[in-house]
């Protein structure tokens, strides 16, 4: 569902310096109307600084932030009309659940009868019907999270910002809330910017992911694009598990240990590396496919339920990590340490990135 009032966000040249450190370095980013975009990066990467800049809580050094056609860079936070879910939830402890959710409505002079109705609707949406009279300290972590969410969208903001809203929840609840947030986003259709350092969460929830590090945007793409075609070693390493091996060049092709990987891509990089996702490797030799073969000995193997995680020392002394489906392993003795194994990678699963090679 497309929300008529959803607004695109256009950020250009946004820079924020703390001393010598660039928290944001000439960031250009467009969030499409109604899109769910995740800012993904390690702590200190600048993702929260960027979100806070959109909300208006910090003052960038230069650049532009536009909601639709309107320049917002000088607009104080209370006039930006964006909903925000804080990492700490930031619920007002001296107000009840209903008063918290009603706070933005009251400020907008919504008449009491309408306000009550809207609060009830919001509570229903986040599945907390009937808890309006509760105090905040009577709620569980998951319930607080929902109240924070309800308060952020109850006044129908055209943009919703979320700062690691699920990081305080336990794993099970977090995974359920991811699905619920996604459904809620679909229902509201509001332009959403979501901040997380959890790559799995980013892959699960986003329409697009913006990977950020040292204050710079590294890559902006949909989850498949980010996972299957990482732009560089940082993205390949940060999102998903991966082994990165250097490639050799000769005669317009890239080689790994005398096996042809692919033609040299036309970029201005002089070196290339091979990125291997551990689950793409297989123990059985696939039929009718062009392959790379890796010969080595098992260094360590760990049974993890649905998969077996194996570290293999290759004969060229590089190390690769592999994840085999449990049902693809005929017997555990096959993966005892010091056993010799051959493992196969289809050329169609090969990911090549610039940099780090010889």
């Amino acid at each position: 569902m497309q929300n008529d009032t959803a607004l695109p966000i256009q950020i250009s040249g946004l820079t924020k310096q703390y001393g010598d450190l660039y928290a944001l370095n000439r960031v250009d980013l467009t969030v499409k109307s109604g899109e769910f975009l995740t800012l993904l990066g390690p702590s200190g990467s600048g993702k929260t600084t960027l979100l806070m800049a959109i909300a208006g809580f910090n003052r960038p050094d230069c650049g532009s932030i536009r909601f639709g056609d309107t320049e917002m860079i000088l607009t104080p936070p209370h006039r930006r009309d964006v909903g925000m879910v804080f990492q700490s939830y930031a619920l007002f402890p001296h107000m009840t659940v209903a008063e918290n959710i009603g706070f933005p409505l009251k400020l907008r002079k919504v008449p009491p009868a309408v306000r009550t109705k809207k609060i009830e609707d919001a509570l229903e949406t986040v599945q907390l019907s009937g808890l309006g009279h509760r105090n905040i300290d009577q709620l569980s972590g998951g319930q607080r999270q929902r109240v924070a969410l309800a308060r952020a969208f109850v006044f129908a903001p055209r943009i919703l910002l979320m700062d690691e809203p699920l990081s305080a929840l336990d794993k099970k609840l977090r995974e359920r809330m991811q699905i619920e947030l996604k459904q809620l986003h679909r229902k509201l259709g509001v332009t959403t910017v979501y901040v997380t350092h959890d790559q799995r969460e980013a892959l699960t929830m986003s329409d697009r992911i913006a990977v950020i590090n040292h204050g710079e945007l590294i890559q902006v793409d949909n989850p498949e694009g980010i996972y299957n075609a990482p732009a560089n070693e940082f993205v390949a390493d940060f999102i998903g598990e991966s082994t990165i091996l250097p490639l050799q060049q000769s005669n317009g092709s890239l080689y790994y240990e005398s096996q042809v990987v692919c033609p040299t891509p036309e970029t201005n990089s002089s070196t290339y590396s091979l990125v291997i996702r551990p689950e793409r490797l297989s123990l059985q030799k696939p039929d009718n496919a062009d392959l790379l073969v890796f010969n080595g000995t098992v260094k360590e193997s760990v049974y993890q339920g649905e998969t077996v995680f194996v570290l293999i020392t290759l004969d060229d002394s590089n190390e690769i990590s592999v994840r085999y489906g449990t049902n693809a392993v005929s017997s555990t003795s096959q993966l005892e340490p010091d056993t010799r194994v051959d493992t196969f990678l289809r050329l169609s699963d090969v990911i090549v990135i610039p940099g780090t090679g010889q």
């Binding site: 809580f57 930031a90 402890p93 706070f103």
Partner: protein, 298 residues
């Protein structure tokens, strides 16, 4: 599963004994303090209470309390005491709230420095501070001479030996008692709450009155009560800076003892002051949920 009888459950009795021993050892830590309170507080107060019902002839009587109702002068003393205490508390609030806010906004290093400045007077003798105010405020004191020098006023203004002087001195001495709990309450307010208020559309003034101020209430109430109660029984400063013109209960007690050597009358004043103080705390406790204000979570 069958329930195993208590005494046969493995180590059950030994574990219970161990727990009891620990509970007793914790309790015993409180014994010295309990003894001190018994001898230094409860016993003398009980003695005063007893004395207040003893007449000059050594017989039991309500005479002292009757006098307190009959004589207008006693009435005036109590009014003065409450007036000075309330005014001092209000002055401390007016000065202390902005000061605490300022301290709470500072980066830790600077907050430490300014906090030291607030606390420094604490480490000086009360008497010294009071006489220092006398030096500053008297007719030919520093303040008057400076004000006349720069032409603020022409003849010396009476700043001491009256209510003004008493209030100035007391407010100065009481200020830290208000600032500390207030600062503490302000420091506990999550920055995100103020961000959230702004984000939801609250102008700074709204965010302050609807979010920040209510959250500082516990500290505000605790600090004000401490100041108010301390003021009720204050002696040195009103005696010196009031110059005999500001007669509070404590000064009155002294003069009764010095002039009439009447322990009974002095004791009855003390008892009434104590009861009034307890009443104030009780009412405040009912209205403001004092336990949560003083001891955090309620």
């Amino acid at each position: 599963m069958t329930v195993v009888a208590d005494n046969t459950a493995t180590n059950a009795n030994a574990l219970i004994r161990q727990r009891r021993r620990e509970e007793w050892s914790v309790l015993s830590l409180a014994i010295p303090a309990a003894l001190i309170i018994a001898f230094v507080v409860l016993l003398p107060v009980g003695w005063l209470f007893y004395l207040s019902f003893i007449g000059d002839d050594g017989q039991g009587t309500l005479e002292h309390y009757r006098k307190m109702i009959e004589y207008k002068s006693y009435y005036r003393v109590f009014i003065t005491t409450f007036k000075v205490s309330i005014l001092t508390t209000l002055i401390c609030l007016a000065l202390g709230y902005p000061l605490a806010y300022f301290l709470a906004q500072l980066p830790p290093r600077w907050a430490g420095f300014f906090m030291l400045a607030v606390l420094l007077p604490f480490w000086t003798s009360l008497l010294v501070r009071t006489y220092a105010w006398l030096v500053l405020l008297q007719r030919k004191g520093l303040l008057n001479e400076f004000a006349i020098d720069i032409g603020l006023w022409e003849t010396p203004v009476k700043l001491v030996h009256n209510l003004t002087g008493t209030l100035i001195g007391m407010a100065h001495i009481m200020l830290p008692f208000l600032v500390l709990p207030l600062y503490n309450a302000m420091k506990k307010i999550d920055r995100d709450l103020m961000h959230a208020a702004a984000n939801l559309g609250a102008r700074p003034i709204n965010a302050f009155w609807q979010i920040y101020f209510p959250l500082t209430m516990p500290g505000l109430v605790a600090g004000s009560l401490i100041v108010f109660v301390l003021c009720l029984g204050f002696y040195v400063t009103p005696a010196v800076l009031g110059g005999g013109r500001v007669v509070m209960v404590s000064t009155q007690i002294t003069s009764i003892l010095e002039n009439q050597f009447n322990w009974g009358a002095a004791s009855s004043l003390g008892v009434v002051l104590l009861v009034a103080t307890i009443a104030v705390l009780f009412i405040a406790g009912r209205v403001f949920k004092l336990e949560s204000a003083l001891f955090g979570k309620g």
